[in-house]
Symmetry: C2
Subunit: 236 residues, 2 copies
């Protein structure tokens, strides 16, 4: 009962780029494949789209299976469709981008899937066009994090300003001035001082902050900006 008889039908995969931050560097949750093709090599976590499933639902399912987490920050970033990108059969892959707190996920599920957190800088070559996808994802992260208070998704509930700075330094691969960073970030009004101190640090204990979630929602479009942003401009 095909009403578009001339058009071709193609396999649709979903691949997830899962970012985490361990306090020092950006990490990716990757899978060492124990199935074919490309068995034994590393790849992004992925799967095929189900019959009655929306794309976002497919991404959520895959992310849930691997991490046991729901309600995480997920966004579609691109679709890869080169003719020969999958050597087995033509497949287009819709790529999703997820940010999670590296300490907050189901360790068992990760082990079951043969997955691990690998450093972005030292990761091995991935299968197919997955390296290209990761490149796009970093680019996307750098854009988005410059415009929106997105980094918090990678940090624990309570965090210190030096921690936040290290995250930004990792994202942009550059050093930032401690004093200017602190001033700028506090001026956003997004941080609430919990009054507590971080007992992890070895010398002077840094103050612990948490995100003002109410303001986060409202200020999502006014983090650091120049031109007005989509959410602020009256929609046409």
């Amino acid at each position: 009962m095909k009403r578009y008889p001339d058009a071709i039908r193609i396999l649709v995969a979903i691949d997830c780029i899962i970012f985490g931050f361990d306090g020092e560097e950006i990490k990716l949750l990757l899978v060492k494949r124990n199935f074919k093709p490309e068995q034994g090599k590393w790849s992004l976590m992925g799967g095929f789209l189900d019959q009655h499933e929306d794309l976002e639902a497919g991404a959520s399912r895959i992310l849930y299976n691997l991490t046991g987490l729901k309600d995480i920050y997920v966004e579609q970033i691109m679709t890869a469709g080169k003719v020969n990108r999958d050597p087995v059969e033509r497949t287009i892959s819709v790529v999703f981008f997820a940010l999670i707190n590296i300490h907050d996920h189901d360790q068992e599920a990760v082990k079951t899937h043969n997955a691990a957190w690998l450093s972005l800088e030292k990761k091995p070559k991935l299968i197919f066009d997955h390296d290209e996808m990761v490149g796009k994802a970093i680019e996307f992260l750098r854009y988005k994090a410059a415009l929106h208070p997105l980094g918090f998704e990678l940090l624990p509930e309570r965090f210190t300003i030096p921690q936040l700075q290290k995250l930004y330094e990792a994202i942009y691969n550059m050093k930032l001035d401690r004093r200017n960073f602190s001033r700028k970030i506090l001026l956003t009004g997004l941080l609430i001082d919990t009054g507590e101190k971080d007992h992890q640090s070895s010398t002077k204990k840094a103050g612990l902050f948490r995100l003002d979630k109410e303001r986060y929602k409202n200020k999502f479009y006014s983090f650091w900006h120049f031109m007005p942003h989509p959410g602020l401009v009256e929609p046409l």
Copy 2:
């Protein structure tokens, strides 16, 4: 010979959002359908992906068929995949975003396809989820144009500063101060004064500028910025 026997295969469409600027408002090149389904209604220009065609190639083909133009600014912006978005058969649509000079295209081809430039603000409701796609495209345009010297793609080779300002005002749907805008835009060093004047305008003739294409390439990532941009940061 299907090696992924359990997975489903889905129709893949390509839809193009084509922006133009007539000097006053942002316009979309839309098609009044003389075919089913939804005959007689307006929609984005689209088509199905061919057997041996990459996504970008498909977008270029569709754009070329409608406008007769090659080498235009095209970028993939999203993929729509809701289960019932096409009532006939499940179809996922990869959406592309194109910027063209509204005066520079094949009028005949446009007529043949039953297409027309409609004002973004006054456009009719489009079929399926095409309105949603247009919404995403405007959002994308607003982001991108705030960070990169993208607007020039919508203007003729030579343009005046007031013209450029009107474009920005149309994109962001806001008034800008003439003097501050002029200062800012000239400071980017992207504009070359041709010495000529625009004889279209009715009172004082505005000076005609053109884009410094060499600098445009180099400064694409440093138009107006805060945090360093993907292209400037050393890739990981």
